[in-house]
Structure formats: C-alpha cells, structure tokens
C-alpha cells in the first residue's frame, strides 16, 4: 500500500467515524422521544426507528475506529 492510498484510507475512516457518531446520537434522541408518545404502536415505531439508527451509527463508529487504529500503526511504520 502506497502512502497516498494509506492517507486516503485514513481520510475515509475519519469521515465514517464522524458520520457514525452523528447517526448514533440521533438514534439516542429518537429513543428519548418514546417518553412523549401515547400509544403502544407509536412507542414501538419510535423504538424501532431509534434502534435502527443506533445500530447503523454504532456499527460505523466501531468499524472506523478499528480501522483507524490499524491504519495509524501502519502509517507510523511507513
């Protein structure tokens, strides 16, 4: 892997980490909104929507964080 390729991968990982954090926080806010709903169907819809966002955001954050650790190590050895 060339240095440019490595830097591009680090850039992508940093971008994905930022996106993951944003989606994760948004999912948490939607979960909090459950307390403002009235019916069971509404609560379940909020719950599912919030969980989907948390899973996607959390997954992106975790994966990109792992990648960043690996890529930073490689970057130091180059």
């Amino acid at each position: 892997m060339t240095e440019i390729e490595l830097l591009n991968k680090i850039k992508t990982a940093k971008i994905n980490r930022a996106l993951g954090v944003f989606i994760l926080i948004f999912g948490l806010i939607v979960l909090v909104a459950i307390t403002f709903t009235e019916t069971f169907v509404q609560q379940m819809t909020d719950l599912v929507a919030g969980m989907v966002l948390i899973l996607i955001g959390g997954g992106m954050f975790w994966k990109s964080q792992m990648n960043l650790v690996q890529l930073s190590t490689k970057n130091k050895t180059l």
């Binding site: 591009n8 850039k11 992508t12 971008i15 930022a18 996106l19 944003f22 989606i23 926080i25 948004f26 806010i29 939607v30 909090v32 909104a33 459950i34 403002f36 709903t37 009235e38 019916t39 169907v41 509404q42 819809t45 909020d46 599912v48 929507a49 989907v52 966002l53 996607i56």
Partner: protein, 502 residues
C-alpha cells in the same frame, strides 16, 4: 405545530449537519478535492448520495402530491424512469467519463464536438440548476408554513444559511457524506410514516377499497399504466417515449449533479458500482414517496392543493418524536438537493466558463476560491428567485417543465456523440440549438399540440427526436472528425485516461 421534542430533534439535526459539513473542510486542499472529493470516495457513499439527491424534497412533497391527484402512475419516475438508465450509465457511459479524468459532462461534449457545444450545454445546466434552487427553497417554505407556521422567508433563509455554509467549506465531500446521513434518516423516517399511515387507514386493502369507491375520478388511481388519452400528465406513451427513452437517460447519464458523484469514486469499479447500488436503493423510493400521498386521499380527502398531502399526513398521523424525525428527513432531502445543485453549478461555472474564458492557467488555489465564491452567489440567486415557483400549479411539474426544454436535445447529442463516430461538431451544435428552440416552441404552443394538462414528457421526446435527426443530417453534410480526435470518446474505441491510453 411541532411539540417540544420535535423542535429539539429538528434543531439538533440542523446543527449536527452544519457541524458535520464543516468538519469536512479539513479534507479540502485543492480544486480536485472541492469538485471531485480527491477521487477517493467509496461506491456505497456515492450510491446513497445519488439516490438522496434525486429523491430530495421535491419527491417527498411533489410526488406525494401527484400520487394524491393522479395515483400510482407517478411511481414510474423511480422505476422505469430510473433503474434501466442507471444500469446503462454504469456499464456504458461512466467508464468513459471517469477514465477521461473529466469534471463535467459538458467537458465531454467539448472534447467530442467543440467548445461552443460545451459552453451552451454548460450555460443551460447552470441556468436550470439556478432556477431549480429557487424551486427547492420554495418547497421548503410550503412545508414549513403548514407544519410550523413559519413565515416563508424565514424558512428559506435558514435553509440557505445551513446548506450554504457546509457546501462552501466542505465541497463535494461534505455534500456526499452528509447525503449518506440524510439517506439513512430519510429511509427510517419515511418507512415509519408509511407504517403508521397504513395503520391509520386500516391496511393496504382497506385503503385501496376506500379510494376506488370515492368516485369515478379515482378509478384509475391504482393503474400504473395510464391510457394514452388520459388527462393526467402520465399517459403510457409519454412514460415510454418521453420518460424511459429520453428523460431518464438524460437525467442519469447527462445530469451533472448525478454524474459528478460517480467521478469522485476512488477507481472505475467504485464508479460503476455506485450507480448499480444506487439503482437498487431506488426501487424502494416509490414506497416512501407514493404511499403517504395515497393514504392522504383517505385521511384528508378534501385538500385543495395536492402538495399539502404530505405535510398534512405528517401533522395528523405521526406521534411526537417521529414528527421531528420525519421533518428532519424532509429537511435532509431538501438540503441534499440544494447542496448538490450548488456544488455542481460551481463546478460547471469554474471548469466550463471561468477557466476557458475568463482566466486560463491560474493556480489551483485560485480555481478553488472561484468555486467557493460561485457557491455563495448561487445561494443568493436561489433565495431571490424562489417566489417564482409559486406561479406553477405543482412544484414537481415545474421542475420537469424547466428540464424538458433541453433534456431531449442534450441527450440526443450525448447519445450520438458516444455511439456514432460520424457525428460532427456542426451536427452537435445545430442539434443542441434547434432542439432547445423546438422544445421552447412546443411548450409555448402546447395547447395546439397536446391534450393533457402538462405535456413535459411529450416535449422531451419530440425535442430529442428533432435534435437526433438534425444531428444526423448536418453531420452527414459536414466534414467528419479524424480518428485520432475521437480516441477515448466514442464507444468501442480505446478508452483513454487523462494522459495515456490503456
């Protein structure tokens, strides 16, 4: 009106988008970073970005409104009107654009035909995008007005402020990556609305039964193919010839804001895959945009303006929390469409107008600055022209009307340019000018030629046909290009990269 938690969600979303967009400023050092994301982006992000830019606010509000008025036939725009064209783009056209190291579609036309064709095509797109900006800002005002009671100008200015800032600083990387978030939010919010909407109308079958028994005007609401003598804007003849053959291809292959995304891919495989992935996501769009409009027929049967169907559904069906989520989804679509237009127009102006005509050979930093300033100027222009949209009966139809003026002729010269070696610079130029003039003529005298409400599909077909024929006739009468001039520009010849052939 929004409850407290919904206000919080919307404001958190807007502030978050702004911060996220500004974060991408650190990845912009050159004009290539600003216009093509440093050619380093992955297919999944680009694919999502293509879809979310296309679906945008216009689809959420406008297509829901069309579904309310005319039924499911409007869904053709996202099925036959997108998927085949995206696959064609992925396998035939994108490799030529990507390997050629191009920034814009007019740049291809300039290399294939001549500088005049490039300039006319670019100027036309710039004009369309600038007018489109106004329509998008107006769409936001319609929703905000119904949902939150905000004055029109307040909503327009707040949208312009947020989108303008992150597009100005972050360039296309900010545009594409915020699109990824926006698509996820839009899909989650959209599916939640469909689920609760279906629950409210008693399920799909119950909704179909209720709508069909509402009167004779609703009998064909669930016919995806409308007869050729229908008074709706979507007769099958228009859908087949105007949409599937011309407008869909022109949009997916010749639209700068779509193709520019593919050009940001890290390699050719990612460029092609982005279109294919986008086409798969596209299949879900009608569910998100059509269903709310259909459900509104049952829940709010007496709306005077179909474009209010979606805002009214959000207001009456969704619980606290999800209203905010859905509104954020709408806002996401709007921002995505606006940021795409801003960045693409800045690219067109900088690369096709400023660089060749105003200041050749300037430093890269200079062109980066020009792109950013163009973004700002466009933003002001879009805000100032937004009230024009209120003169048109449907927001979505207004866009199609603008597009039908030149989509047909533009696609005709693009198609012949890549598939027919014999077409010449004079053929392309005359086809473009006469084709656009013919489209304008048809639109001005449409009452004399067409019997449907808005014949934009027919106009795009006939202007395509005229452009095609003119191109063939004039090309056969003028001197053909030399083989070496066509290298890498015509199908079945070697595709060349920026400097070397492969």
């Amino acid at each position: 009106m929004l409850a407290g938690i919904d206000y919080f969600i919307v404001i958190a979303y807007i502030v978050g988008m702004l911060l996220l967009g500004l974060y991408f400023k650190k990845f912009v050092n050159t004009s290539e970073d600003y216009f093509l994301g440093g050619k380093s982006l992955p297919f999944w992000a680009i694919g999502m970005s293509i879809v979310v830019s296309d679906i945008g606010a216009l689809d959420f509000v406008g297509v829901s409104g069309q579904a309310y008025r005319y039924g499911v036939s409007v869904g053709n725009f996202d099925w036959v009107g997108s998927v085949p064209a995206m696959l064609l783009a992925a396998f035939i056209f994108i490799p030529y654009f990507w390997r050629g190291g191009m920034y814009t579609i007019p740049e291809y036309l300039g290399r294939r035909y001549n500088k005049s064709v490039r300039t006319i095509a670019s100027a036309t797109w710039i004009l369309f995008f600038a007018l489109d900006l106004g329509v998008l800002f107006w769409a936001s005002a319609v929703l905000l007005n119904v949902l939150m009671g905000w004055p029109i100008w307040i909503s327009i200015l707040s949208t312009a402020g947020v989108v303008g800032l992150y597009t100005y600083f972050g360039g296309i990387t900010a545009v594409i990556m915020t699109d990824v978030v926006q698509m996820i939010i839009m899909f989650v919010g959209g599916f939640a609305l469909v689920f609760l909407g279906l629950h409210a109308v008693g399920g799909w079958e119950n909704m179909v039964e209720k709508i069909i028994t509402m009167g004779p005007e609703y009998q064909s609401h669930f016919d995806i193919i409308q007869p050729s003598d229908t008074t709706s804007p979507f007769p099958w003849t228009g859908i087949l010839f105007g949409l599937t053959f011309v407008m869909a291809n022109a949009y997916m292959i010749g639209n700068q804001s779509i193709v520019q995304r593919c050009l940001t891919a890290k390699n050719e495989w990612h460029a092609k895959a982005s279109m294919i992935f986008g086409s798969a996501l596209k299949m879900f769009i009608p569910i998100l945009v059509l269903f709310p409009g259909l459900m509104a027929v049952v829940v709010h049967p007496d709306l005077s303006d179909g474009d209010q169907a979606l805002p009214m559904m959000i207001k009456s069906i969704l619980p606290p929390g999800l209203v905010g989520l859905m509104f954020a989804a709408f806002f996401a679509g709007l921002m995505s469409s606006v940021d795409s237009l801003l960045n693409s127009t800045a690219t067109l102006f900088t690369k096709d107008i400023y660089e060749p005509f105003i200041k050749k050979g300037a430093s890269d930093k200079h062109y980066l600055k020009v792109g950013q300033i163009t973004t700002l100027v466009l933003l002001i222009f879009g805000v100032a022209t937004s009230p024009i949209s209120s003169d048109f009966p449907g927001i979505y139809v207004a866009i199609q009307t603008f597009m039908s003026y030149f989509q047909g002729p533009l696609f005709a010269i693009l198609l012949l340019g890549i598939f027919w070696k014999r077409t010449t610079q004079w053929g392309g130029l005359s086809a473009l000018i006469i084709g656009i003039a013919f489209a304008v003529f048809l639109n001005v005298f449409k009452e004399h030629f067409f019997h449907i409400e808005d014949p934009f599909l027919y106009i795009s077909w006939w202007s395509f046909l005229v452009g095609f024929i003119i191109n063939v006739i004039v090309s056969l009468c003028t001197k053909k290009h030399e083989e070496k001039d066509l290298q890498g520009l015509v199908f079945n010849t070697k595709i060349v990269t920026e400097n070397t052939s492969i």
